[in-house]
C-alpha cells in the first residue's frame, strides 16, 4: 500500500493520475470517517491511497453560490452564520449528523457524496439543493450535478483519476425542510426527506436519492406513494435497519413532515 499525503490539489491529482495509469483503483481520503476504518479492517482493499488532509481544501466561501472544499467539515457548515442564513437546509442537516463533536469535526460533505451510501444524511439534501460537484483530474475540471454523479449504492460517476475538489450550492434561503428518521443515536438514517420549493427528495428508499415533484403541497403523501410504487424492484432499498416495506410505509409521512417544515420556513 502506498499512501500520498498530498500538500496541494495538484499533488493529489498527480498521485491519482499515476495510480490510475498503473491500473489501480486509488482511494481518496477526505474526512476519513468511512474509508479509514474500512481500510483498517481490510474491507476496502486499497493499493494506493491519496489523503487530502494537507491539501488545504477546507475553504467555505459564501457568495451567490456557496462553495465548499473537499475537506470542509460538518462543523464548519454548522458554525458558518452565512450558511445558516442562506442554506438553512444544509445547516439543519449538518447539525443532526451522528457521532458527536468528533465526527462533526471530521466528516465531510464531499466524503459523504463520494461514499454514495443510500443511508447517508447528506445525499438527499445535496440533490434537493441542486448542488454541483467540482470534479477535477490532472487533465481538467468539470462540474456535474450531484444527482448525476450518483450511480448506485457505493458507486459514483468518477473516473479513477478524478476526485471531487468541492461543491457549489446555490443559496436557498427560504421554504426548505429536512426530516430524517433514525432508530437511535447510533443508527444511520433510515429514511430522509429534504423539501425544497416544488419537490421533495427522499433518501433511504432507493439506491440513490429520489426526486419527487410535488404538483401540490396537499398531495405530498400520494405523490410519494405513487413514486415509490413505481420504483423498479431492483432499486428499492433495504438494509439491516429496515426492510423495504417499512420504508414504503413511513416515507410518505417523513416527506409530509419535511414539507410541513418547509411551509413553516416560508
Amino acid at each position: 500500500m502506498t499512501t500520498t499525503f498530498a500538500r496541494s490539489l495538484d499533488e493529489a491529482l498527480t498521485a491519482l493520475a499515476e495510480s490510475a495509469a498503473a491500473g489501480a483503483k486509488p482511494v481518496v481520503v477526505s474526512g476519513g470517517t468511512l474509508c479509514v476504518p474500512a481500510m483498517v479492517r481490510g474491507e476496502l482493499d486499497a493499493a494506493d491511497v491519496v489523503d487530502l488532509g494537507r491539501t488545504g481544501l477546507n475553504t467555505l466561501a459564501v457568495g451567490s453560490v456557496i462553495e465548499l472544499g473537499a475537506l470542509v467539515s460538518y462543523q464548519q457548515v454548522i458554525s458558518s452564520p452565512r450558511v445558516r442564513a442562506e442554506l438553512p437546509l444544509l445547516h439543519r442537516m449538518a447539525s443532526g449528523i451522528t457521532g458527536g463533536i468528533q465526527i462533526r469535526n471530521q466528516g465531510t460533505l464531499v466524503g459523504a457524496l463520494c461514499a454514495a451510501r443510500p443511508q447517508s444524511d447528506a445525499l438527499a439534501v445535496l440533490v434537493a439543493l441542486q448542488a454541483e460537484a467540482v470534479v477535477v483530474s490532472a487533465s481538467g475540471t468539470r462540474t456535474a450535478p450531484v444527482a448525476d454523479l450518483l450511480v448506485s449504492p457505493g458507486t459514483t460517476h468518477l473516473a479513477a483519476d478524478e476526485l471531487v475538489a468541492g461543491l457549489r450550492i446555490p443559496a436557498c434561503l427560504h421554504g426548505t425542510g429536512y426530516v430524517k428518521l433514525k432508530f437511535a443515536e447510533s443508527s444511520w438514517p433510515v429514511v430522509t426527506a429534504a423539501a425544497v420549493q416544488d419537490r421533495v427528495v427522499l433518501g433511504g428508499v432507493a439506491g440513490t436519492p429520489q426526486v419527487v415533484p410535488l404538483p401540490s403541497r396537499r398531495e405530498v403523501r400520494a405523490a410519494v406513494v405513487d413514486h415509490l410504487d413505481a420504483l423498479p424492484t431492483e432499486h428499492r432499498w433495504a438494509d439491516l435497519r429496515a426492510p423495504w416495506a417499512y420504508r414504503r410505509r413511513v416515507a410518505p409521512e417523513i416527506a409530509a413532515r419535511a414539507v410541513e417544515l418547509a411551509e413553516e420556513a416560508r
Binding site: 428518521l181 437511535a184 443515536e185 444511520w188 439491516l240 426492510p243 413511513v250 409521512e253
Partner: protein, 744 residues
C-alpha cells in the same frame, strides 16, 4: 483552552473513588497497555461457514508471510492441549449433556467465527495477514440457526439440556379455567459489548506462565489453564490490570485463553491477543422463545401458567453462558404467587457463536415474560396494572419462600417497592406508561433444585480476604474479588477502613493477582461486596483484635510501622460464605434476592413506530446499601442496558449464520442523547443470611427496565388500537407492525 485551571473545589478526599485521577488523567493501565519486550501478537483464523467438516487447513502460505513466527491449526494444537473443562460445575447438575470440546476443532466447525487456526507474528498487522493466508477447505453440513427452525423440526440431537419447573396441576386448571389466554414471547439475541474487548498477554519463561488478562475470574482462569496446558497451578500466575467493563463477557472459558498461552510456550516469547470489536460482537446471549398459556381469576389473580420455552444458546461451549438458560427457567414465576406452574424448557445448540455470560444472567427473560403476562391480565380484567400486581405479589410474610424450582427467596418487601416507585414517578405526560416488578436472585448458586437422594450437600462458594500491616504504615487488603470497573474496590476499602478505624487513604487494596490474592470467584453474581466485603470485614476485625490484644492503641501510620518492626505484618486471612439455613432437601441456591420496581414512560411515533423513552424511575432494594454512589452507578448502568435491550440492541445474523451487527453502527447501544436522567429510590430489606445485610447490585435493573419499557410501549399501542407487545427489541419496524395501518 487546554490550560489547567486550579479548581478551588478540587478535593480528592471527597471524590467517591480515591486515587482515581489516573482514569481522568489518562495514565490508568489496561490490558492493551501491557507491552513486554520481544512481544508477539496473535491473530485468529475463523470459520466462514456455519457448520462444515474441515477437509483441510493449509497453513503453508501463512507461514511464509513476513513476520509470521508460528501458525497452528487444530490437529497440531490438540497434541499440546487437553480438552477444555466445563466452567461453573458439571453440566449434569442442570440437566445438561456433556461433550468433549477442544480449543481448536480438528474435524468440524460449528459456527461462523469459530477459531480454526492461530498465528503468532511480530506485529498485529503481520499476524492478521498471516491469518488471512491460511486456506481452509470446507464441506458444508446442515446448519440450525434459530429457535423457530428447531420448533419446525425439533430433532432431539440439538437439545443439550431440558429443564422443568412444575408445581400443582397446571394442565387441569388451564383446561377448566374461565379466563385464560395464550401468547408467544420472544427476546432477541444481544451482547455485552464493554468498550474494552477481551485481551490477554501470556508470557512463558520456561518454568512459569504469567498471564495478564482483562478478566473477571483470575483464579478460575488459572485452574482452567493448568488443566488444559497440563501445568501445575502454582506454575501459573494470572494478573488482572484495570478492566474496561466486563458484564459477563470476561469470565473463563473462551478458547483464546489457552491458545495465547500455548503460543507463548511454543515460541518462548510473550504473546498478546486483543480481540477486535467484530470478534467481540460474535458472543451474545439472552435469546428465548416462550409459548405461554395463562389462567386467571376475574379479580386478576393468577391461577396457572404453562410456558414451553426454547432457548437457543449457540454452539456448545464450556463457558458459563449456556447456563443462563437454566436460571431463566428456574426464576419463574419471579415475584408472584402462581399456584399451578408448568415451565418446560429445551436448551438448544445452534450454529451461531456460543453464548457468553451476559449481565442479567438469564434472570431478565422471566421478568419480561411475567411482567407482560401481568399487564395482559390487567387488560383482560379491566383492572389497573399496579392493582393486578398487588393481588399477585409475594408479601413480606410469605418470605422466605421456596420457589417451585427450589430457588429460595430470602427476603423482600415487594408491595412496598411497587408503591414507592409509583409515588416517585414524576407522572410526566407521555403516550404510554409501563411498570415492572423485578426480583434478581444473586450471590452465586444458579444450580438450585431438589437434591437427589444421597447426593453430597452443596454449599456456597466462599470469598476470602487477607489483611496485613505494611512497613510503610499502610494496611494492605488482598481480596479474591476482582473489579470489572464497577468500583467494588471503593466499598472494600471503606469496609476495611471502618473496621480498623483508619482513613480509606491508609488502605492499599490488591485485587486480581493469583500470586498475591487469596482464591475467590472474582466478580460474578453480585457477590463482590455482599460476600467478598464480608470476608474483608472478618479479616480486618481479626487484625484489629490482634492489635488490641497487643495493646498497641489506635492504628496510625507510625503505630503500624512500629507493629511491623516488632511483630511482622500480622497477616490475617478470613473466608466468608453466606449462610442460608441448611436444607438437605435442596441444593444450595442463590443466598439473597435483590428486588425492585420500575416505571417507564415512553412516546411512540404512530407513523414510524419510533419509541422515545421519556422517563425511567426505579425503587431498588439490594439489602443494606454499603455505598449509595456505587449502588446507583450499578443500577444506572444496568438500566441503560435494559433500555438498549428493550429498544435497539440486537445481534442479528444472516441466513448463512454471518453476524450482521459487528460494529456499534449496527449494534445500537444507547448513547447519551438516547436516554433521559434516571430517577432512583432505595428501599432496604436487609439480607438475613449475609454478615453485612447486603444483597448485591449489578444485575438488577436490566430486566426491570426492559420489562417496564415493553409495558409502556404496549400501553401506548393499546391507546391507539395497536396489537400487544410480545417481543424485544422494540425497534420501529417491530412497533409499526403492531400498529394499524391507517389509510393516508
Amino acid at each position: 483552552m487546554m490550560s489547567a485551571v486550579n479548581a478551588a473545589a478540587a478535593d480528592p478526599a471527597r471524590w467517591p473513588k480515591r486515587n482515581a485521577f489516573e482514569f481522568a488523567g489518562g495514565t490508568a493501565v489496561f490490558i492493551d497497555d501491557v507491552r513486554p519486550s520481544v512481544l508477539l501478537h496473535m491473530a485468529v483464523v475463523r470459520s466462514s461457514r456455519a457448520h462444515a467438516r474441515l477437509r483441510r487447513v493449509d497453513t503453508a502460505q501463512a507461514k511464509a508471510v513476513p513476520g509470521a513466527v508460528r501458525v497452528l491449526e487444530g490437529r497440531e494444537a490438540s497434541l499440546h492441549l487437553r480438552p477444555l473443562p466445563y466452567q461453573f460445575g458439571d453440566p449434569e447438575m442442570i440437566g445438561g449433556r456433556r461433550i468433549v470440546l477442544e480449543a481448536l476443532p480438528v474435524d468440524e466447525v460449528r459456527y461462523v467465527g469459530e477459531p480454526i487456526a492461530i498465528v503468532a507474528a511480530e506485529s498485529p498487522r503481520a499476524a492478521r495477514r498471516a491469518a488471512a493466508a491460511v486456506v481452509v477447505d470446507y464441506e458444508d453440513l446442515p446448519a440450525l440457526l434459530d429457535a423457530r427452525a428447531f420448533l419446525a423440526d425439533p430433532d432431539p440431537i440439538h437439545v443439550i439440556a431440558e429443564n422443568e419447573v412444575v408445581s400443582g396441576a397446571a394442565d387441569e386448571v388451564l383446561r377448566t379455567a374461565e379466563h385464560r389466554f395464550g401468547a408467544e414471547f420472544a427476546l432477541g439475541r444481544s451482547s455485552t459489548a464493554p468498550i474494552e474487548p477481551r485481551g490477554y498477554v501470556a508470557a512463558w519463561d520456561g518454568t512459569r506462565l504469567t498471564v495478564h488478562a482483562t478478566h473477571q475470574q483470575p483464579h478460575q482462569l488459572r485452574t482452567e489453564l493448568a488443566e488444559v496446558l497440563d501445568l501445575p497451578a502454582h506454575a501459573i500466575r494470572v494478573v488482572v490490570p484495570n478492566v474496561g467493563g466486563a458484564f459477563g463477557l470476561k469470565m473463563t472459558g473462551p478458547v483464546e485463553e489457552p491458545l495465547v498461552c500455548l503460543l507463548s510456550m511454543l515460541c518462548g516469547r510473550p504473546v498478546k491477543w486483543i480481540e477486535s470489536r467484530a470478534e467481540c460482537f460474535l458472543g451474545g446471549g439472552r435469546e428465548q422463545l416462550h409459548q405461554v398459556e395463562v389462567a386467571h381469576a376475574a379479580d386478576g389473580r393468577l391461577l396457572a401458567l404453562r410456558d414451553q420455552v426454547v432457548i437457543p444458546v449457540g454452539a456448545e461451549a464450556v463457558s458459563p453462558g449456556w447456563r443462563q438458560a437454566y436460571v431463566s427457567t428456574a426464576s419463574f414465576p419471579t415475584a408472584y404467587v402462581v399456584p399451578h406452574l408448568d415451565i418446560r424448557s429445551r436448551v438448544v445448540a445452534t450454529n451461531l457463536p456460543p453464548w457468553h455470560s451476559c449481565r442479567g444472567f438469564g434472570k431478565e427473560a422471566p421478568v419480561f415474560v411475567m411482567e407482560r403476562i401481568l399487564d395482559m391480565v390487567a387488560r383482560r380484567t379491566g383492572l389497573d396494572p399496579a392493582e393486578v400486581r398487588r393481588r399477585n405479589l409475594l408479601r413480606p410474610e410469605d418470605l422466605p419462600h421456596r420457589m417451585a424450582s427450589g430457588y429460595r427467596m430470602d427476603s423482600a418487601d415487594l408491595p412496598t417497592v411497587l408503591n414507592r416507585v409509583l409515588e416517585l414517578d414524576g407522572g410526566a405526560e407521555a403516550d404510554g406508561v409501563g411498570i415492572a416488578v423485578e426480583v434478581t436472585p444473586e450471590g452465586g448458586g444458579h444450580a438450585g433444585g431438589r437434591s437427589r437422594p444421597g447426593a453430597t450437600p452443596t454449599v456456597a462458594a466462599p470469598e476470602a480476604a487477607a489483611v496485613l500491616l505494611r512497613s510503610d504504615g499502610q494496611v494492605e487488603v488482598r481480596t479474591g474479588v476482582t473489579n470489572p470497573g464497577g468500583g467494588n474496590d471503593i466499598a472494600l476499602v471503606r469496609l476495611a477502613a471502618g473496621e480498623l478505624g483508619l482513613s480509606p487513604d491508609s488502605i492499599r487494596l490488591v485485587q486480581g493477582d493469583t500470586d498475591l490474592c487469596p482464591p475467590g470467584t472474582g466478580n460474578a453474581s453480585s457477590r463482590g461486596v455482599a460476600i467478598g466485603g464480608a470476608a474483608v470485614v472478618l479479616a480486618a476485625r481479626a487484625l484489629a483484635d490482634t492489635v488490641s490484644r497487643l495493646g498497641a492503641g489506635p492504628l496510625t501510620e507510625s503505630t503500624i510501622a512500629e507493629l511491623v518492626v516488632r511483630y511482622g505484618p500480622l497477616e490475617h486471612v478470613r473466608e466468608y460464605r453466606p449462610d442460608p439455613p441448611e436444607d438437605l432437601e435442596y441444593r444450595y441456591s442463590y443466598p439473597y434476592f435483590s428486588s425492585g420496581a420500575y416505571v417507564a414512560r415512553v412516546d411512540v411515533d404512530r407513523a414510524t413506530g419510533r419509541v422515545r423513552l421519556r422517563s425511567l424511575t426505579a425503587v431498588h432494594d439490594c439489602g443494606r446499601v454499603i455505598e449509595p454512589v456505587l449502588v446507583e452507578g450499578q443500577l444506572h448502568g444496568a438500566m441503560a442496558m435494559g433500555v438498549g435491550l428493550a429498544l435497539s440492541e440486537e445481534s442479528r445474523f444472516d441466513a448463512r449464520g454471518v453476524l450482521q451487527a459487528s460494529s456499534f453502527k449496527e449494534y445500537l447501544a444507547p448513547r447519551a442523547n438516547d436516554l433521559p436522567d434516571f430517577v432512583i429510590g432505595h428501599h432496604e430489606t436487609r439480607a438475613p443470611h449475609t454478615l453485612l445485610g447486603a444483597k448485591g447490585a449489578g444485575e438488577s435493573g436490566l430486566g426491570g427496565a426492559l420489562a417496564a419499557i415493553a409495558n409502556a410501549v404496549d400501553d401506548a399501542l393499546a391507546r391507539c388500537g395497536g396489537r400487544e407487545v410480545t417481543s424485544i427489541p422494540l425497534d420501529p419496524p417491530t412497533v409499526l407492525a403492531l400498529l394499524p395501518e391507517v389509510d393516508q
